[in-house]
């Protein structure tokens, strides 16, 4: 049954439950005719904007200031896009002074959920605050690290996390062109997680979701590289160190006594890691050899694991139909030519999937057989002029700054501008058969593009001092 045979498609279903709307089918998600999809997207965008305008104070203020009362055409929403800075606009001093009551007040203005009854009294660390939000509110916030001494805090919610996990299953285990089988809808594989076991960083939250979702409920089939969690307060310190170093103020950096008291714990954690790495490889090469697995990691992380495995004489480890997902750009790491071959040789799989996305969105966009990242139907992509943020025409081949409006996002505003340079061929019908708009494969961060080759001298200091400890912290992220 195709969509057109159904009764008039409901916008509400499309925007609130795309999984049901598309019958849990990857094929249907990416077969909907372009014009039909865009009509749905426009209506959904318009409705979601009105809802969020009422429920998200920061959006309302921005819209009021710009005089925007409704968004009908795609480009109407562009002036309302947030950049990543919106999610770290709180003063870092609030965390230093443990004013989690005020942090809650700040967060309340960024989310559609009502936090006015939430009590942050007694929270002594970022992790404690987030844990309490997890416990008492619909939120499941994720953090990322900043370079200006603050962490981004994105008010994601539990509903979105559950939905995201199902979407991942659909996109990773189904094949475009064939309707899903029960085994594809409920895969049970070994999950290999070459990372810290948990944490509040965006990608570490995923671990929790995969633990039950991809293993058929058997958490013993979840295998993480390290057993520990990344500590958010330690990440905050790392970010502050970076900022302080760039200001020449490392000597003034005050480490929260509660965190400093845990120094030995962190050192012990560091000391455990070589043994855990060995144990991880033993487990993969002995217990998991030949099994069908799911594994996810950034390119550089995958490469490091593969290199370490090959150096130990381990290769062709897993079943050929295993599902491997990588992406996230190279994040400034330089990998040798043929790094994908190294990863493939170690894993012994036929195919490595690639995904593109940023944490403000509801889901990744997955690469097709042609290497293009097909945009999920509930996400409206934009190419903006990289400097002015004016939207470029939605015709022909356009290269510029990626921005999206994600109608599926309920807990926070779905219009965001990225730091990535992307290309879309708007008129392309991709030979892979999917009808959806797609980002071309080569994506680069603007920061990497401009920072790489520059010997301009001015006497105002903006360069950052690198710091051994912070480099170590940075390894945590990837």
């Amino acid at each position: 049954m195709s969509l057109t045979e159904q009764s008039a498609p409901s916008v509400r279903d499309f925007m609130d439950d795309p999984i049901g709307f598309f019958g849990e089918s990857l094929t249907q998600m990416h077969s909907i005719p372009r014009a039909e999809l865009e009509a749905l997207q426009r209506k959904a965008m318009s409705i979601r904007f009105q809802e969020h305008r009422d429920s998200i104070e920061m959006l309302r203020k921005l819209a009021d200031r710009l005089g925007v009362t409704e968004v009908d055409e795609f480009n109407d929403v562009v002036p309302l896009f947030f950049s990543h800075t919106a999610f770290k606009s709180y003063p870092a001093a609030l965390i230093d002074n443990k004013r989690f009551d005020l942090m809650t007040k700040w967060l309340d203005k960024l989310t559609s959920h009502d936090l006015s009854q939430f009590d942050a009294e007694g929270c002594n660390s970022i992790d404690e605050w987030i844990d309490r939000l997890d416990e008492h509110t619909p939120l499941e916030v994720i953090t990322s690290s900043g370079t200006t001494g603050t962490l981004s805090i994105l008010p994601k919610d539990k509903h979105g996390a559950r939905e995201g996990m199902v979407l991942w299953k659909i996109c990773l285990f189904q094949t475009f062109g064939t309707e899903p089988t029960p085994a594809q809808l409920n895969p049970a594989v070994e999950v290999i997680w070459p990372n810290y076991a948990s944490g509040k960083l965006g990608h570490l939250r995923i671990a929790n979701m995969l633990k039950g979702g991809f293993t058929g409920g058997d958490e013993s089939r979840f295998h993480s590289l390290y057993s520990d969690a990344v500590d958010t307060d330690l990440m905050f310190l790392a970010s502050k160190m970076r900022a302080a170093a760039s200001r020449g103020e490392l000597d003034r950096l005050v480490i929260d006594p509660a965190l400093a008291a845990r120094k030995d714990e962190f050192i012990a954690m560091q000391m455990r890691q070589p043994q855990e790495l060995d144990a991880f490889f033993t487990e993969m090469s002995e217990k998991l050899r030949g099994k069908r697995i799911f594994m996810i990691g950034t390119y550089n992380l995958m490469y490091d694991v593969a290199r370490a495995g090959l150096d130990r004489g381990i290769k062709d480890v897993f079943a050929k139909d295993s599902v491997i997902l990588t992406g996230g750009g190279l994040k400034g790491f330089v990998l040798p030519d043929g790094y994908m071959d190294v990863i493939r040789e170690f894993l012994g799989v036929d195919e490595i999937r690639e995904g593109y996305g940023f944490s403000e969105q509801s889901a990744f966009h997955f690469a097709c057989s042609e290497g293009r990242y097909h945009v999920q139907p509930w996400v409206i992509p934009f190419i903006l002029d990289p400097e002015t943020s004016e939207p470029l025409p939605r015709t022909g081949v356009r290269t510029g700054r990626a921005a999206v409006y994600d109608v599926l996002l309920k807990a926070h505003w779905g219009g965001v501008i990225s730091g990535d340079e992307v290309t879309i061929d708007w008129d392309l019908q991709c030979p892979c058969g999917q009808t959806s708009v797609a980002f071309e494969h080569d994506i680069i961060r603007y920061s990497e593009k401009t920072g790489a080759d520059d010997d301009r001298i001015t006497c105002a200091a903006t360069h950052e001092v690198h710091n051994e400890a912070v480099n170590f912290m940075k390894e945590f992220e990837s």
Binding site: S89, W106, G248, R456, I457
Partner: protein, 493 residues
């Protein structure tokens, strides 16, 4: 592909435009071309230090005459080299046209006889530059000290014409053999001054001891060959942390670094500013100048402005009011001082726009057209991105006490503009302990004189080699060989 303009190699009077290769500039996609320095690097340094002796055949009076003539020839309207440099800077530099032109207008008075004399005498001492200065030491020896020039490499910053001119001026005063690595964002000014020098004083020793060229910072083929103690004795490095840090790899015994390294500046405004409306306007106008000059590209510009308004409701209201006045004055500055920046930082505006939304903590005045902005903190801390402030964006921070201010002063702090004078006198014995290097009247942060120390050092003195000649008469200064004999005599008694 040929570039938009050519940066010749000025090699001791000779102008070389062969073996051109292309380089990118900072702004936009424009390129320029310059001789491939790896082909010329062996010819840059002096073949033999003895060749510096001709600089000592020149009297200081003659040096003053030459510099005065150079200054007179630098008048923009009649100097084609400078006009070319200006055209190149328009392409390579983020500063708008009027401001760049203004930075060339101030060169003639810089080289004027009286000005050079003041700099030379106050920053080194004419007697030391022109001969041996005698001194009688308590132990009886006759000491004579003279300041010799060194073989020096300059890596100047490229914000406007002044830095290149000051670089050459300082080197000539100290009778140095000078190699200048032109900055990519002002690639032609130093060459233009050098060519003007060659026009007014061809074959003069000063001309023969000047080299100006461009190579890309970090080009090992050039740097590893040139940055050696047998070729140069001192490197004067301005600029960004990365470039100064990069140079440190070449520092070794016999090769010294004089770092005019990255700095930031601060502003402190006392409670007296709020005495009445007229005073507030005056203070706001001064602060606006400190923010706006050359569009805040320099290290002396005001960025974070601490205001002793207090942080209670009335205090914050005062800070907001002052912020509005500063903004009004800022956007009203004449174009040769300040304009909306040509290349506002997108990343910075992303932060500013986020602060605008976080209105419990920050009030953002202006900035909607990226013309510059004032962010008034509504509590006693600067924005977390204060290190990024540029393009006429400043942060007004209300504080209750001076402790907050001293906490913000560190080894990277250069200038602090202060109002009123009484507060400056109160602070001048404390702020240097934290790292501040220059305390000046509010409104003068970017009015920099050359006849004074810079970055807490005296660059021209540092560029000199301080040589002593001693005369010890054994009848007056007890010689060691006799000291032995005296001890022995004592032992025999």
């Amino acid at each position: 592909m040929s570039g938009a303009f050519t940066v010749p190699l000025f090699l001791r009077g000779e102008v070389i435009t062969d073996d051109l290769v292309s380089f990118g500039t900072r702004s936009g996609g424009s390129e320029f071309q310059a001789p491939d320095m790896s082909k010329y690097v062996e010819r840059l340094p002096l073949a033999n230090p003895m060749q510096m002796s001709d600089l000592y055949d020149v009297s200081f009076d003659e040096i003053l005459d030459v510099l005065q003539a150079v200054g007179d020839a630098l008048v923009f309207e009649k100097n084609t080299h400078m006009q070319e440099a200006y055209e190149a800077a328009l392409l390579a530099n983020p500063l708008p046209a009027d401001m760049l032109k203004n930075s060339y207008q101030i060169l003639q008075p810089l080289f004027a006889r009286a000005n050079v004399l003041e700099i030379a005498d106050s920053q080194v001492g004419l007697a030391y530059l022109n001969g041996w200065v005698p001194q009688h030491l308590a132990d009886g020896r006759e000491l004579r000290v003279r300041a010799f020039g060194s073989r020096v490499l300059h890596i100047p910053a490229g914000n406007g014409g002044l830095v290149s001119a000051v670089t050459i001026l300082r080197s000539v005063i100290a009778r140095c053999d000078t190699i200048i690595k032109a900055p990519s964002n002002d690639p032609l000014t130093a060459v233009a001054i050098a060519r003007t020098l060659a026009d007014v004083a061809p074959d003069h020793p000063i001309t023969k001891h000047l080299v100006v060229g461009y190579w890309k910072g970090g080009d090992l083929a050039v740097e590893e060959e040139l940055y050696q103690p047998q070729h140069i004795e001192k490197i004067v490095a301005w600029g960004g942390l990365a470039s100064v840090k990069h140079v440190t790899r070449y520092i070794q015994p016999g090769l010294e670094l004089i770092a005019l390294d990255p700095k930031r500046s601060a502003t402190i405004i006392g409670a007296e500013a709020f005495a009445d409306e007229a005073t507030m306007r005056d203070v706001a106008g001064r602060a606006a100048v400190d923010i706006g000059v050359a569009n805040q590209e320099g290290c002396a510009n005001a960025r974070v402005i601490y205001v002793m308004s207090g942080t209670d409701a009335a205090g914050v209201a005062n800070a907001n009011r002052l912020g509005e006045m500063i903004y009004e004055a800022l956007v009203g500055l004449p174009e040769f001082i300040s304009t909306a920046p040509l290349h506002p930082s997108r990343e910075l505006y992303e932060h500013v726009d986020a602060s605008r939304m976080a209105d419990d903590w920050y009030r953002v005045i202006g900035g909607e057209d990226r013309e510059g902005a004032i962010i008034v903190s509504q509590f006693d801390s600067p924005v977390d991105y204060s290190a990024m402030l540029s393009g006429r964006i400043a942060n007004v921070v209300p504080v209750d006490s001076l402790d907050k201010v001293t906490a913000a002063v560190n080894a990277y702090t250069q200038t602090i503009g202060i109002y009123p004078e009484s507060l400056k006198r109160q602070l001048r014995d404390q702020l240097p302990l934290f790292g501040a290097q220059r305390l000046t009247s509010l409104g003068y942060a970017c009015s920099v004189a050359i006849a004074m120390p810079q970055d807490a050092i005296e660059p021209i003195r540092r560029m000199c080699k301080w040589i002593v000649e001693e005369e010890c008469d054994p009848a007056v200064v007890m010689p060691l060989w006799r000291l032995g004999a005296v001890s022995a005599a004592h032992a025999n008694e």
